[in-house]
Symmetry: none
Subunit: 208 residues, 4 copies
Amino acid sequence: METSALSQEMAAPSDPPSFTDPESPRGRLLRQAAHLFRDKGYERTTVRDLASAVGIQSGSIFHHFRTKEEILKAVMREAILVNTGRMRSRLEAVADTGEAVRTLVQCELESINGETGEAMAVLVYEWRSLSEASQAEILELREVYEGIWLDTLTRAKSDGLIEAEPFILRRFLTGALSWTITWYRPEGDMTIENLADHVMSMLKIPPA
Amino acid sequence: METSALSQEMAAPSDPPSFTDPESPRGRLLRQAAHLFRDKGYERTTVRDLASAVGIQSGSIFHHFRTKEEILKAVMREAILVNTGRMRSRLEAVADTGEAVRTLVQCELESINGETGEAMAVLVYEWRSLSEASQAEILELREVYEGIWLDTLTRAKSDGLIEAEPFILRRFLTGALSWTITWYRPEGDMTIENLADHVMSMLKIPPA
Amino acid sequence: METSALSQEMAAPSDPPSFTDPESPRGRLLRQAAHLFRDKGYERTTVRDLASAVGIQSGSIFHHFRTKEEILKAVMREAILVNTGRMRSRLEAVADTGEAVRTLVQCELESINGETGEAMAVLVYEWRSLSEASQAEILELREVYEGIWLDTLTRAKSDGLIEAEPFILRRFLTGALSWTITWYRPEGDMTIENLADHVMSMLKIPPA
Amino acid sequence: METSALSQEMAAPSDPPSFTDPESPRGRLLRQAAHLFRDKGYERTTVRDLASAVGIQSGSIFHHFRTKEEILKAVMREAILVNTGRMRSRLEAVADTGEAVRTLVQCELESINGETGEAMAVLVYEWRSLSEASQAEILELREVYEGIWLDTLTRAKSDGLIEAEPFILRRFLTGALSWTITWYRPEGDMTIENLADHVMSMLKIPPA
DNA sequence: GATGAATGAGGATTCATTCAT
DNA sequence: CATGAATGAATCCTCATTCAT
């Protein structure tokens, strides 16, 4: 399922083998795009804004992306791929199911409030700016990511760690975690670990 | 005399004594606006879209609202006012603190998934399309609403009903509840009461 | 020639037998129109501006005038008619040719800087806002007015009072006198008589 | 680096080092603008009119000017600068005060009836279409121009060449000369030199 | 006569995209 | 690869005019 999703997007010539080097022109463009799209919204960000943020002329943008929408899609794509990748590799070192849940919570909080935060916010807030075709593409990647979550929560349920339906619990969690972007400030007293602790205690899952 | 005449012809009063009659042209416009803004986004909804959804000409929009942004603001304003009002009146009949928390959860779920749902989604998703001046206006109304929540959760904390910080709990709840709009379907098996039950059990607050 | 011009405009039902009573709704409208057209220009003055300046609703304007342009035309028409009338009656009391020239100069300065000043300015500055048909109508009235000037200057020429071609002199005078509107201030030290004195001395026509 | 990039893409510089090359797109645009603004008035000239007169698309206008008003301002600005420049250079070759006055009269007649005539008419007739900020800008340029006139007339007064107040005389002259645009036809029998002769003889200043 | 909501054509301006250099 | 002038469709908004009340 994952491989099919991945191989499919390989087909499009404008979607290079992830991930883009952050120092390449394309990478810098994507970083600025995430920032501007998050800040002003996709529609209110002009191609000129983008170009001047990167230090090039507006026409040159189209040497890197076919359309403005492709930039939006790429921002979302890379965010999901990066975070799916990190989640997977962190999970490899974890055997205990409770610890696995905590790892996912922690990863998701990092993805939302860390370096990919702006891109993740764009993923949520600018979803409707994506054409249906692009939505379908991105959706496939999201399903991979959500699959990992559901697998883990289902294990937690059968292990008796949680009572709620995995499906529903995941949804409440998605909302609660993604909303942190609107109020959590990494510069403040609370670390992301503290945040994760709060969540785990609300779920009544004890530390391993 | 002439100045009074001037103000007399004032075409588009922006903030009428709430709430707008839903059958008035203004009311129908607001309902359609909430729908379209939710569906396509504020920026991608044109004034013509709006007009034709209401069955008037695009120019006529501006008899009711001075600018497109005023419509957005009015949508948000009325949504908050309606829901603050409902929350208040429901709370009057409730003495028990645990029951009060449940009432708020239930009210918020209704506001998000009921008639004002589209407007509430607009409030979240289109916030950045509001000018700073309008944001400040709406923020004031939101603070009244949030004040009620915080008061109640603070009482719950001192009553020993909850362990978490009211402040932080409210934020997790905001995210979890507002996110229901993305997945909860009133037509399905689960009622809003069921949803609220799930939330209360997650909070470990027993029924009164 | 004069009568034909006058009788012709009698034909149009919207052009009432001049002059409009200044206290009638129509009269007040024309006064405010002259003021606004002079102040902001015809195009930038909206029918709503006009209406609110008079203390009525915009729709009511059209009970008095068929179109906005009719208002412009009426402003011009009445200004010319009033000033032609005054010039004629003042001239009746004057026999001496030099004195007649001075009378015309004085009258024109009054028309430009007195009560009809705004309307006269509109006549000059908003000429192009008139349809060709209306321009023709107004032109006929202007020709009556200019006829009086030319008659008098021609007499002055044959009396040896002036050297210049009456035709050319009139044109320099038109410019010089109408331009006073841009700089002459009735409230200042210089009276309109003083102004007229300056002009007469420039023409080297001695007082009678 | 990014900020320099920002200013680099600045599309429409408003005040270039005068004067604009008449064959450049900007120059052709200004010439057509002067023509159309003179002919139909600024307000009644649409950006589309302008564009099609130059042979470009309406959107392309905004590569050369930020707003329609900037075009109006540029038309006026260049007209004053060109004419101030010419007046100055012509004056350099002139020692005699009487001759200097004649030079100014001649220059002004040329400015009004020659190549810059349409722009000069726009300067007079479309003044109110300029924002107050732009009016102030243009006013500064006009004051330089008027300063030259006043200096010369003041010298003429102390040389005993004229009797009238320089200040008032200048104003009558401004009106008389600018009005020539409404009646003088270069194609006719009278040359601009003839016109200037008429003016000088009216001023009773003998040829040098 | 007066009202004022509604009309609908038209205006200035924006902006993603193209392409010759 | 980069530029930046040009495009042209689309956007919000204005406003003279109409007409049912």
